[in-house]
Symmetry: C2
Subunit: 301 residues, 2 copies
C-alpha cells in the first residue's frame, strides 16, 4: 500500500553562498522519496543513465523505498547546474542537460499500478496524465507538482490532468500564473474549478499556505541560522507532507495540518546541507525532536 512517486532523478551541480558541489544526487523523486519514506513506504518511478550506479542506488537503501521502477538507460542521467545568490529563494539555472530524461515515458511496473496514493512530480503534464491512466484503480488521492514552464507552455494538457488531481502543490508565482489571481485565497477558488480540492502553496523561507474546503492553514518555515542549499526543499516538503498523509490514510484537516508540519520540518533539515546529505544522516530522534519543538514553538496558549 505504497505511495507511488513519478518524476526526475538527476545529478546537480550546485553553487550557493555556502560553497560549490558537483554531481550531487538530486531530482524531484529523489528528494521526495527520501523525505516521504520517513513516514510511509514509497515506490519510485524514474529514469537514469549509465552514470547512475550502485553508489547512487545506495542512497535509497535502509529506507522503505522501492527503486525497482527506476529504469536505467543508455546515455547520461539528467544533469542540472544551478546557482543561488544571497537571496536563497531564487535559483538561477546555468545549464540543463535532459539526457535520458528527454525521452522519459513512465511505464509503471504491474506492482506499482495498485498504489493507493500517487505523487506526480514536476514532469510534462501529458506524461502525468499518462501515469494516471496506467493506474489499475483510481488512487485514494493524487497529488501533483508543476511549474511555470508547463503552465505557460502546456496549459491544455495541464488543465486535462488537473481534472484528475486532489492535491495541487505549487509555489506562489505558479499559483498566480495558473489562475491569474494574485490573492491566494482567490487563486484557490479558481483552482477548485480546475479539479483539485486542496491547494498547497510553497513559500520558501516564508513557509506554506494550505487551502482546503474545511478552511485555511498557514505555517512559517522553521527558523534556521544556516541554510546551505535550498535545492529540493519543495520536493522534500511534498515528501514529508504526502508521506505523512499516506500514513494517516485520511485528508481531514487535523491530518493535513500535522502533515504540513512534518513536511516543513523535513524541508528544514534538507536545506541545512547540500543535496540529500542531511536527510541521509537524519536520525529518527532528531526528526521527532524538531517536530515537537516546532509544534511547541507554534503553540499560542
Amino acid at each position: 500500500m505504497s505511495l507511488l512517486a513519478v518524476g526526475s532523478v538527476a545529478f546537480d551541480d550546485l553553487e550557493t553562498p555556502s560553497g560549490i558541489r558537483e554531481n550531487v544526487l538530486g531530482g524531484s523523486v529523489t528528494h521526495f522519496s527520501l523525505s516521504a519514506s520517513r513516514f510511509h513506504p514509497v515506490q519510485v518511478v524514474g529514469v537514469v543513465g549509465e552514470d547512475f550506479g550502485p553508489d547512487q542506488f545506495k542512497v535509497f537503501e535502509g529506507r522503505p523505498i522501492d527503486v525497482s521502477g527506476i529504469v536505467r538507460q543508455p546515455g547520461l542521467s539528467f544533469h542540472w547546474k544551478g546557482q543561488y545568490g544571497a537571496d536563497l529563494n531564487e535559483a538561477r539555472t546555468l545549464q540543463t542537460d535532459l539526457n535520458v530524461f528527454a525521452d522519459f515515458q513512465p511505464d509503471l511496473p504491474p506492482a506499482h499500478r495498485a498504489a493507493p496514493y500517487l505523487f506526480l512530480g514536476n514532469i510534462a503534464p501529458a506524461l502525468q496524465l499518462d501515469v494516471v491512466r496506467q493506474m489499475a484503480a483510481r488512487p485514494k488521492w493524487i497529488a501533483l507538482d508543476t511549474m511555470n514552464f508547463w503552465i505557460d507552455g502546456a496549459r491544455p494538457a495541464l488543465m486535462e490532468v488537473l481534472k484528475e488531481i486532489d492535491i495541487l502543490l505549487v509555489n506562489e508565482a505558479e499559483a498566480r500564473s495558473l489562475t491569474g489571481e494574485r490573492n491566494l485565497v482567490k487563486a484557490y477558488a479558481k483552482v477548485r474549478t480546475f479539479g483539485p480540492r486542496i491547494l498547497v502553496v510553497k513559500r520558501g523561507e516564508y513557509g506554506m499556505l494550505l487551502l482546503t474546503p474545511e478552511g485555511l492553514f498557514a505555517l512559517p518555515a522553521f527558523p534556521l541560522a544556516e541554510v546551505q542549499d535550498p535545492t529540493g526543499a519543495g520536493d522534500t516538503f511534498a515528501g514529508g507532507f504526502l508521506g505523512y498523509l499516506a500514513r494517516a490514510g485520511t485528508l481531514d484537516m487535523a491530518s493535513l495540518k500535522r502533515a504540513a508540519l512534518a513536511g516543513t520540518v523535513m524541508a528544514s533539515f534538507a536545506v541545512e546541507a547540500f543535496g540529500t546529505e542531511r536527510l541521509q544522516g537524519l536520525g529518527d530522534a532528531e526528526l521527532r525532536g524538531r517536530m515537537d519543538a516546532f509544534a511547541e514553538m507554534l503553540r499560542v496558549g
Copy 2:
C-alpha cells in the same frame, strides 16, 4: 499607567488596486494608537497642523486614547502620497510634504513622563533618544520602530538610542541593512549586541518573526481574500503587539506569542479597508472572533 506612543500623525493620499482615497487620516501613531487601545490605554505625542481639526480628533474618541499630547501648530499637517501596484508589499512614495512634522520636537507633557511603557514610532533617532531622556523614570520597556532612511543616514544616532531599547520592530530589509546579516537568526544575534533583547521582524503578507532570548516564534499573516490598503499595517501590528504586552505587564514568551497573535489579527483588519476605516468600525466581538479563529487555525493537534 499608559502606553506612551510618539510618532507621526498625517494625511495620506492612497492609490491601491482597490481604489483611490485622498486626505485619509494616517501616520504611525494614528494606526498604532487605534490598534493598541483595544488592549491598553494609550497616550499619544505628535504634531499636526491647522488642517487637523475636530473631524480628525473624533477618530480617537470612544477609545482610551489620550490625545492631549498632540500639539497643533501653524501650517499644514504631514502629508504623504503613495501608490501600490499588484504587489501590495511595496509602497511607491509619490510625494512627501513634511510640513509641521519637519520641525517636530517632542516635548512630553508632565503627565506622560511616567508612562511605564514607551513606543518610539519611526522618527529621527535623535528625537527618539530625546524622548527617552525626557522620561521621569526608565519605563519597564521601550520599543522602537525605524527605517532604512535612518539606518543609512543617521546610523550613529540610531546606535545610540538602540542601547536604550528593549524591543526593536523592523521589516526584513531593515533588519538586514541594520546588521549586515541576511539570515534573520544571525541578524538577531547582532541586534542583541546593539541593545534590544527582543527583535520583531515584520514580513507583510508573510506574517512576522519574533526572536527572543527564550526562543523563536513565527506567525503567518491571517489569510485574507481581499486586501484594500496595506498602509499602516506595520504600525497597526505594533499597536496590537505592544498594547497586548502592556496589558499583560510581562515580556515572558507566552505573553509575547499571544501579543504577536493580537498584533497580526489587528493588522489583518486594518488592511481590509482604506486608512483607519476598518479599525474604527471594528467591534469587540468581531475582534475576539478572529483572534479565536486564528489561534484555532494555528493549532496543530
